[in-house]
């Protein structure tokens, strides 16, 4: 994944280095100069938080590329109500205090009315608090913590929350009664705890037995002892929410230890992680709620194509793209650039996303985007990277009670 797009990411790399060296990121933000601005009005500024350093830095370049691509295509088509979008990218370092500080600066110094981005619930939650009244800044973000989002608020989600993810995983396991014993392996931070809690809740009343629960340290260099434990337990299925680059470490170490012979692996396997694996876990049952372009055949998924197969399918790029699209469509629907009007227009609306037409639920501002599921297969001539086939798209509306 890394290294094939060095030219287009040069600015980001320099900004990341500047950030690492502790210098504030003046001049490290705007993609305006790259946009072909058919629009002629004054620019609508959108602050974009990306974890260019720190946890999930590995994927944040793709988030930014997706957001930049959305801005580029929107501006090329005349902008939003005649105004071009201007993206101001800031490094939140995946730290809540840095994220809040950057968001505050974007609002106070750059006078942005719209914010998007970040990849961690911790940053998302802190920024969500900041954009609550009285600042009236609208924020679109793809994080899994359900407490970030409240109906009537100014924060809108572009991916399902951990509650939806866990409930869907439980429904999938329950639909396979031949799996009598289930092991669960999760990350040892809020995402892992929440998705596991939702999974266990969904499994209540099932005759299928959860025989073990492991929370693995995020970013560890060895998961061998956890894998050996699973191999010894031989559960019929292992539900894994080990995520991001930890998935790569987990799968790499699982092969020689014989995990895939001892149990059926089922869990989150984003295209952005299975693609760079030297040996993808062919036969594992995966799912992703990130919009990898090749999964969907929509007008917006095609707009990711210029990013190249690898980035367009990373999922992160699609999510960054969706966050900007949601803001742009909200402005169009509201016929206003005022965040309160845009918030009202998005409330319960249906928006076009990479995945298709998706409904925003009024009670919690969550967008019911589908979850793509399927067995992992090796790269093919048509799709030159590991992917799911056949793919089942799960309608997540059924997990909303409002």
């Amino acid at each position: 994944m890394v290294g094939k797009h060095a030219v287009s990411s040069r600015t980001l790399l320099v900004c990341a280095l500047v950030s690492v060296l502790g210098v504030t990121g003046a001049g490290c933000g705007s993609s305006k100069s790259k946009a072909t601005t058919a629009a002629s009005g004054s620019p609508i500024k959108v602050g974009y938080l990306a974890s260019l350093t720190g946890f999930c830095a590995a994927f944040s370049q793709d988030y930014v590329k997706g957001a930049q691509q959305a801005v580029k295509t929107i501006n090329a088509e005349g902008g939003v109500m005649g105004h071009p979008l201007q993206l101001l990218v800031r490094d939140d370092k995946a730290e809540p205090n840095v994220g809040v500080s950057q968001a505050r600066d974007l609002v106070l110094s750059e006078h942005v009315g719209f914010l998007a981005g970040t990849c961690t619930s911790a940053v998302g939650k802190s920024v969500a608090r900041l954009v609550a009244n009285p600042s009236h800044v609208l924020y679109t973000v793809g994080v899994a913590d359900p407490t970030v989002f409240t109906g009537g608020g100014y924060v809108f989600a572009t991916i399902p929350t951990a509650e939806v993810e866990g409930a869907n995983a439980a429904a999938y396991v329950r639909a396979h009664p031949q799996w009598k014993t289930v092991a669960v392996i999760s990350e040892d931070y809020s995402y892992g705890f929440e998705v596991t809690a939702a999974f266990r809740k969904g499994m209540k009343g099932s005759s299928q037995k959860i025989v073990s629960q492991e929370y693995v340290p995020s970013g560890a260099s060895s998961y061998a002892s956890y894998i050996s434990k699973l191999v010894a337990e031989k559960p019929d299925v292992t539900y894994s929410t080990v995520i991001a680059e930890d998935t790569i470490t987990f799968v790499k170490q699982a092969f020689p230890l014989g995990l895939f012979k001892a149990t059926q692996l089922f869990g989150i396997l984003d295209y952005g992680t299975i693609d760079p694996m030297p040996k993808p876990p062919v036969g594992a049952l995966g799912y992703t709620y990130y919009p990898s372009a090749s999964i969907y055949h929509t007008a917006l998924s095609e707009k990711l194509d210029p990013l190249g197969t690898e980035v367009a399918n990373s999922g992160a790029a699609g999510d960054g793209f969706n966050q900007i699209e949601m803001i742009a469509q909200g402005i169009e629907k509201a016929h206003s650039t005022e965040p309160p009007a845009v918030r009202a227009a998005l409330d319960g609306a249906t928006v076009q996303m990479v995945q298709g037409s998706e409904k925003i639920h009024s009670c919690n501002n969550l967008t019911a985007v589908p979850i793509a599921m399927g067995p992992v297969v090796a790269a093919t001539k048509e799709l030159p990277f590991a992917h799911f086939s056949p793919i089942e798209l799960v309608d997540t509306n059924k997990y909303f009670t409002c």
């Binding site: 994944m1 890394v2 290294g3 060095a6 990411s9 980001l12 790399l13 320099v14 990341a16 280095l17 690492v20 060296l21 502790g22 260019l52 350093t53 720190g54 946890f55 830095a57 590995a58 994927f59 944040s60 370049q61 040892d188 073990s212 629960q213 492991e214 929370y215 693995v216 340290p217 970013g219 560890a220 260099s221 060895s222 061998a224 002892s225 956890y226 894998i227 050996s228 434990k229 191999v231 010894a232 680059e245 930890d246 790569i248 470490t249 987990f250 790499k252 170490q253 092969f255 020689p256 230890l257 014989g258 760079p276 694996m277 030297p278 040996k279």
Partner: protein
């Protein structure tokens, strides 16, 4: 617990322990001999892992590529370490200015981390193991990955090599003498500056070697810096600052204990290194020994 399960956890623990040892070895040597707490050790480890991905990407994921990375990366890192020692650290020894050493190695870590991001980007990289090292052996029903066995053997060899260098060569003799009395050694006509540069470079090379060895285990990310540095400090403090044998024992003990704790209580397993360190420090305190051993004694 069946024999197979016992052995599975033992192998996993040994693998983890030796990886921990590799993350700590360079830090430990530099502390033991030079008295420099090298805060760039994690960054060097990360750099070694990233450099390994470059070498393997160019030569191929073959045994040759991996062996080349194993030799070339530590040598290049050691050369960089020598330069950093001459330019940054040399002047601080005479003044015994540990604050300056701390700040300089911290700056060094920022420079390395920034350089890695600049060259490789903030994303991750992966490397494949050569086919010959990617399989596993079955022993009494347990599974021993070939690469875990290789890591264990390398760990033993590296410890033996360091021990041999320190106790079997004139350079080792002089190094140990320098720990005791640098001034006296200098008066006897020994080029202590060169000796110190050599030791620092060797320590940096050792740290980079750890990164090379760890690279095929998982994703190579910038997070490796912190992931390596914190456990390395725990191992060094637990094993006795500067004590290489102690570090090896501490690393292996932490790895094996953590592995068996995983079996019984996976939630508590990540706390194992901290628990072992606290127990060892308390035991030292109760025995009336200094919590941080004397450097001169530790290095011998």
């Amino acid at each position: 617990m069946s024999l197979a399960t016992f052995l599975d956890q033992l192998f996993a623990g040994l693998g983890l322990g030796f990886i921990l040892f590799f993350s700590a070895a360079g830090l430990n040597l530099v502390w033991g001999v030079l008295g420099v707490m090298n805060f760039a050790a994690g960054a060097v480890y990360m750099l070694g892992a990233f450099m390994a991905t470059t070498v393997i990407a160019h030569v191929g994921a073959s045994t040759l590529g991996w062996l080349l990375a194993l030799v070339l990366v530590p040598v290049l890192a050691a050369a960089g370490g020598a330069l950093a020692e001459v330019v940054l650290l040399r002047r601080t020894y005479r003044e015994h200015d540990e604050n300056q050493q701390f700040m300089l190695t911290l700056v060094l870590s920022y420079l390395i981390a920034g350089g890695v991001v600049l060259v490789y980007g903030p994303g991750f990289r992966t490397v494949s193991l050569p086919g010959a090292l990617s399989g596993s052996w079955q022993l009494f029903g347990a599974t021993l990955p070939v690469y875990t066995a290789v890591v264990i053997v390398l760990g033993v060899l590296v410890t033996a090599a360091i021990w041999g260098l320190l106790y079997g060569t004139r350079a080792g003799l002089l190094t140990r003498a320098a720990v005791d009395d640098r001034t006296m050694l200098s008066m006897l006509g020994v080029d202590v500056n060169l000796l110190y540069t050599g030791v620092f470079a060797f320590g940096i090379g050792l740290g980079a070697l750890g990164g090379v060895i760890d690279a095929p285990n998982g994703a190579v990310t910038t997070n490796l810096e912190t992931a390596a540095l914190v456990p390395a400090f725990i191992v060094v403090v637990t094993g006795g600052l500067g004590n290489m044998t102690g570090a090896l024992i501490a690393a292996v003990a932490i790895g094996v204990i953590e592995s068996f704790v995983t079996l019984r209580s996976p939630t508590l397993a990540p706390l194992t290194p901290y628990a072992v360190m606290i127990v060892v420090l308390l035991a030292r305190g109760l025995a009336g020994r200094s919590l941080l051993p004397d450097r001169a004694r530790a290095a011998t």
